[in-house]
Symmetry: C2
Subunit: 404 residues, 2 copies
Amino acid sequence: MLKVNDNFQKLPGSYLFSTIAKKVAAYSEANPDKKIIRLGIGDVTQPLAPAIIAAMHKAVDEMGATETFHGYAPDLGYEFLRNAIADNDYKARGCDISADEIFVSDGAKSDSGNIQELFSADAKIAVCDPVYPVYVDSNVMAGRTGTYDENTGMWSDVIYMPCAMENHFVPEFPKETPDVIYLCLPNNPTGTTITKAQLQEWVNYANKNGALIIYDGAYEAYISEENVAHSIYECEGARTCAIEIKSFSKNAGFTGVRLGYTVVPKDLSYEGVSLHGMWARRHGTKFNGAPYIIQRAGEAVYSPEGKAQLKQQVAYYMNNARVILEGLKEAGYTVFGGVNAPYIWLKTPERMGSWEFFDYLLETANVVGTPGAGFGPSGEGYFRLTAFGSYENTVAALERIKAL
Amino acid sequence: MLKVNDNFQKLPGSYLFSTIAKKVAAYSEANPDKKIIRLGIGDVTQPLAPAIIAAMHKAVDEMGATETFHGYAPDLGYEFLRNAIADNDYKARGCDISADEIFVSDGAKSDSGNIQELFSADAKIAVCDPVYPVYVDSNVMAGRTGTYDENTGMWSDVIYMPCAMENHFVPEFPKETPDVIYLCLPNNPTGTTITKAQLQEWVNYANKNGALIIYDGAYEAYISEENVAHSIYECEGARTCAIEIKSFSKNAGFTGVRLGYTVVPKDLSYEGVSLHGMWARRHGTKFNGAPYIIQRAGEAVYSPEGKAQLKQQVAYYMNNARVILEGLKEAGYTVFGGVNAPYIWLKTPERMGSWEFFDYLLETANVVGTPGAGFGPSGEGYFRLTAFGSYENTVAALERIKAL
C-alpha cells in the first residue's frame, strides 16, 4: 500500500490567501449588495504596458508561421531575455552577474518553493517573522521544519527572526546559526526594508557561517530611497553566499503572465558542490522553460518604451501607497512601509487581533486586507494593505476607513 | 555550513536531451557545411493552428485594457479551461471526471516531475524500461531510488518492467509489488501501446495491491486503433488507483507554449489521505497558475475550428510516421511503433550499440535520433526517431538512411 508524504498533513489550515478568498466569498454571497474593495492579496490591477502588449502580439504571430515558430525553449531561458536581465538588472548597477547565471522561470513563487530541493533534509532554515508563507510551507512539505505548535504558531526546527516595531522591522542575527536564511527585501508583508549597509552585514554573517541567503527581491522596483540596495549582489561577497529570486509580477504587472528568474552565481558552492549545477539540473529535469511569448514580453520590459511605461505604472501604485499611508495616519493608525514597497503595514487597534480586524474591516468598511497573523506569529497585531488597487478604489477604501 | 541534497550527486551524467544537444552542437561546429536533420527530441515543428493564434491575440488584447485585465489566475486553472477539458477529454468519452478534479499546469513535464512529492520517502516506484527519464530522475533527486549501478544502468530501489521485442513491449506485473507504477501509453520512447483490456488488468492489479498508477497520456491524440483507451478512466476502477497527466504539447504543438493538466480523482486516497487535497495544496503553495493567455490558447484547442485544424496537424505528423516506418522497412530495419504514436522505435543493426548508432547516423546521414539506452537499460539495441519533423525533412532523412 502506498504511503503518502505525511509532511503535508502537518500543514495547519490552508494556504493563507485561499482562506481569505473563501471568507470574502462567503461574506459577498451573504451581502450581494455590498461593493467590496480588495486591498488584500498583492495582485496588480493596471493593464499590461503597451510595449509589452505589442511584443506579445508579435510573438504570437511568430508562433503562427513555420519559419518563426518556436518549440521547446532552452531549459534555462532564451539568450535574448537572460542578456537583457544581466545588462539591466545587474551590469548597469555594477553587479558582477553574467547571463548564464540567470535562470528564467514561470515566476518567483515557483522558484521560492522549489529552491529548498537543493538543501539536505536536515538543513536549518531561518525566516523573518512575519514572512511570505511559501518559504516555510515548502520546507514543511519537505519535512525540514519539525513539529508545529498551535499555541505559538511556530515550527520546532525553524529559526524565527522577529521583525516588529520594537526593532524597526530589521531582523537580528539569530542565536542559533542557520544553514539557510530567507530574506525578502523590500519586505512582504511589512513594506519595510533595510539599508545597503545593514544588508552587507547579513552577507558578511552568511559568508562567515557558511550559510546561504535566499534573497527575494520581488519588490525591488518600488525602492525610492538612495541607501537601499536593488540587488544583494551590490554587497561585497554576495556571490559566495546568496541566491537572488526576482519576479516580473510587481514591476511589470505580470501576476497573470507568469515570469520570474533566479540568479545562482557560479561561485556558490557548499561541500564542494556547485549550487549553479544543481539548479541547472533541477530546471532541466522538472521544468521545460517559460513560454516563448512570455519571454518576449519579459524582454519588452527592458526596452526604452517598456521602461518608461513601467516607471509610470510603479509611480501610479506608489501614489496609492501614499494615499493609504496618509489616510491611515489621518484615521489615527500607526503605520509602516509604503515608501520602498507597495505594502502598508498597520498596527491593529488595541485589544483587536489581526483576524478580528480583518472581519471588522470587511464587515464595516467592506475592505479586504490581510491579517498579519497569517504571515507568522510576530504578525499578530498588524494588518497589511496593498497599493495594487485602482486609484479610485484606494481613495474610496480610505474614505470608508476614515469614516469608521 | 549548509549541506546540500546529495541525492542530486547520484544522478549519472546530464539530462539525456542536454547530452544529445551538446553532441550535435559539437558535430555541427566541426562540420558547418552539413545540413543536419533532427528527428531526435520530441519537439514539434508545425506552427500553432489559426484558431489558437486568434485566441491568443484576443487574450493579449484583454491583458492590455483595465476592464479585461487578468491578474493571478485561480491556482488550479480557469473554469473555462477545466470545463472544456472535462467535457471533451472525459465526459465525451464516458469517463466520470469532473472539472474540479482537473489541475491545469505549465506542462506535463513539470507535473511528471512534481507528482512524486506526494509519496513517502520510502515509496517504491516501478517504471517501464525503457522510459521517459523524468520519472526516475525526479525520484532520484528525492532520494527514493537507492544506489546506481553503472554496469547495469539500474537503481537498486527501482522496479524495472522491461519492454522489448520479446514481450511485444507490454509490461508484465513485477515480482515485487510496487507502491507507484508509472505508465506512459501510447509509449514514449517505443511508440507502442497496449489494448484497453490489457490496461484494465493494470487497473485491477493496482486496486488489488494498493498501488497508484501515474498514467502519462501525452500521446493520446495519436491513437488510431479502436481497442486502445484514450484515458485510463475508461477502465473500471481507475478512479481509486490512477492519476492521469496530459500535455498540450503533442496534440496542439504547445512545446513552446507550455500547458498541461493532471487529473486527481477525489476517490483517490491512501492511508485515509486524499491525494486530491494534497495536490491542491502543492499547487497552491508552489505554483501560481498557468498564464491567462496560455489558458485561453488551451480553450481554443477544444473549439470546433481548433479541433478540425489540430486533426489535420496530427494527421500531418502521422503521415511522417508512415514515411519513417516504410522507409526504415525498405532499408531493412526491424521497426515498431508509429501507429498509435508519433515515435518509431527501431532495432539497431547487430553488434551496434544505440549510442554507437547515434554517432553513425549523425556522421553518415547527418540525421539526429535518440539512442534507446538513454531511456534505460532495456533500450540498448534500439533507437528512436520522431515524426515531428517537417514532411520534407522527414522524406530527406529517410532517403539518406536508405542510401547508406
